[in-house]
């Protein structure tokens, strides 16, 4: 704990110094959409610097998931943890990263409760910039989480046939999809009243999406109704695309699916987010 002893308050406003900063001449032109978004992205990075605890969620949680499921299910489902890992690691990577996307909604919601949001909303900037900024910061966290899981996998014996290029491409697809998917959370973050309710709703969305997918087991083993859901679940397609890239056998149709789903999510939830943001 650092304790700060407030400096003796000796400040008294001086008309000349203060007057000197009050000028109407040096007003620069408004920033473009990109630079405003990048400025908010920079803010997200600073938040990681000042509140490093938030990285715990994106590192410890995925490591735990990977270890737990590999050893819990590995023996039963694929004969040995090592074999299971080849199938399972891309899946758990997708599922962990998609799970940590929900922190976006919580961050948005926390900011609204503080006055800072009001300031952003009175600035003459591209309206979605604050939201895009959150997501740019989050993309860094998603990348970090993916790398952590990959490293754990490599240690446990995961050997991707796709090599370095395949793995990098797979992580890029995953991070891009997660960026698109996060607009669901910005919407909930703006819509719901408290951090707790954002958390609650997030769980209700995330658990079915990640568990009712092809992450853990092959859908061929599932009853038909469940299998129907698993097959339209976008997470399943992301998993298939990522698996294929890591295995060195890119699947064009799966990548197409991911692209379409990502664009659709961004259009629908991005629009809803901005409507809420403007109306708030």
């Amino acid at each position: 704990m650092t304790t700060t002893t407030p400096a003796p308050e000796t400040y008294s406003p001086v008309a000349e110094t203060l007057g000197a900063v009050l000028s109407r001449e040096s007003r620069p032109p408004r920033p473009g959409a990109l630079s405003a978004s990048m400025a908010f992205g920079w803010r997200a990075m600073l938040k990681i610097k000042h509140v490093p605890e938030q990285l715990f969620d994106v590192t410890a949680f995925p490591i735990m998931m990977t270890l737990m499921f590999t050893f819990l299910f590995g023996g039963a489902l694929a004969g040995s943890p090592g074999d299971y890992l080849q199938f399972f690691l891309p899946g758990i990577m997708v599922s962990s990263v998609v799970m940590i996307t929900m922190y976006t909604g919580i961050e948005v919601n926390k900011d609204i409760e503080r006055g800072i949001f009001d300031r952003f909303r009175t600035l003459p900037i591209w309206r979605p910039a604050p939201m895009v900024g959150y997501l740019l910061g989050d993309a860094v966290r998603y990348t970090l989480a993916s790398i952590v899981i990959l490293l754990v996998g490599l240690v446990l014996g995961f050997r991707p046939a796709g090599g370095f290029v395949g793995v990098v491409a797979a992580i890029a697809v995953l991070v891009a999809f997660s960026f698109a998917f996060s607009w669901v959370w910005t919407m909930f973050g703006l819509m719901l009243r408290s951090e707790k309710s954002v958390m609650g709703v997030s769980m209700m969305v995330i658990f079915p999406l990640t568990f009712l997918s092809n992450v853990y087991v092959d859908p061929a083993t599932m009853p038909s109704l469940l299998r129907a859901f698993v097959e339209i679940n976008p997470i399943s397609h992301v998993v298939s695309a990522v698996r294929a890239l890591m295995a060195g056998t890119p699947a064009a149709s799966e990548l197409m699916w991911v692209l379409v789903a990502g664009v659709a999510l961004m259009v629908v939830f991005g629009t809803l987010t901005m409507r809420l943001y403007n109306r708030k």
Binding site: S12, P13, L18, P29, T122, L123, P124
Partner: protein, 314 residues
């Protein structure tokens, strides 16, 4: 004709069945401090949020420098800035980071944003605290960094929503000085407050609002003369002398005297328009009490409090 910084007519905002702002009419001349005075829940923050384009009105019209706050929100945003009732800076970030972020969002390049941030921190006496997270700042420092953020690009209209609530007297007078300097440089300030003396010291015109409506408007002098210039508070040593004291004061001041719940206390509201006269009247009342042999423990002359303003106006 003077130009108006803010002009509203019939502005309404309802939350459920609650009319937080109810048919509000304001006309704020440019280049002045305009005070909006009202108790908790009067609708001050709601009104400011509508004017700052944060909240959509449910009825009526509001223009800021001639721009409609709904249809031309972007033009309005280009000319105003807001220091909200609760800190509108990021508490997790340092003072300098907050200002750099804002500088970049207002179109400054990286180097220019840093230079501007340092210049502002210096002007607000925050250079030493620049590298500390805002959550470790004192209340007064927090307010200052918040106001610094609001004038990063000198706005034409600055909203200050209860800028001194919760500050100690010294920090309060610092904020007052800042407001005076800002307004002297051509920025119009809309200041909300719960304190009559604050509005009195800073504002050239005041609107008193309650239940979302303007219940009085005018210069501080006009308002004060309409509500009397204050009250005389008296505490006696002996409760049994209170009736006698009531008569003495009532005849000396030609006003009605209120008997407080405390059996030795009385309050008389002065009706004179000027402070000098009020002091004279009070002195007369005190000497007549002494002449009548009434023992006075405490005697004070107070400015009209907000309570008294409301008592007088509603």
């Amino acid at each position: 004709m003077t130009t108006l910084a803010i002009e509203t007519s019939g502005l309404v905002k309802t939350f459920g069945g609650n009319r937080a702002v109810d048919d509000l009419d304001l006309a704020v001349p440019a280049g002045t401090v305009y005070g909006v005075l009202g108790p908790n829940g009067a609708g001050k923050t709601t009104a400011v949020r509508m004017l700052a384009t944060l909240l959509r009105p449910d009825g009526g019209q509001a223009r800021v420098f001639g721009h409609d706050v709904v249809r031309e929100a972007d033009a309005v945003r280009g000319r105003v800035s807001l220091t909200g009732q609760y800190a509108s800076v990021d508490e997790d970030m340092t003072g300098v980071e907050n200002l750099i972020l804002l500088g970049r969002l207002l179109g400054h390049g990286k180097a220019a944003a840093r230079a501007r941030a340092e210049q502002l921190l210096d002007a607000f006496g925050l250079t030493e605290a620049a590298g500390r997270q805002v959550k470790h700042y004192s209340g007064g420092m927090r307010r200052r960094v918040d106001i610094a953020a609001s004038i990063l690009n000198t706005p034409d209209l600055l909203f200050l929503d209860e800028p001194t609530t919760g500050l100690d007297p010294r920090a309060r007078s610092q904020v007052w000085d800042i407001v005076r300097i800002v307004v002297a440089h051509g920025t119009t300030v809309l200041l909300t407050t719960q304190y009559l003396d604050e509005a009195d010291h800073l504002a050239s015109r005041i609107a008193v609002i309650d239940h979302g409506k303007v219940i009085a408007e005018g210069t501080p002098g006009q308002l004060k003369s309409s509500i009397g210039s204050g009250s005389v508070h008296v505490r006696l040593r002996e409760a049994h002398q209170r009736e006698q004291a009531e008569q003495v004061i009532a005849s000396a001041l030609a006003t009605t005297v209120v008997l407080e719940a405390d059996p030795v206390a009385l309050t008389a509201r002065l009706t004179a328009g000027q402070d000098a006269v009020a002091a004279e009247q009070a002195a007369r009342a005190l000497s007549e009490l002494a002449a009548a042999g009434i023992v006075v423990d405490e005697f004070s002359l107070g400015q009209p409090s907000l309570d008294e303003v409301f008592l007088a106006l509603t």
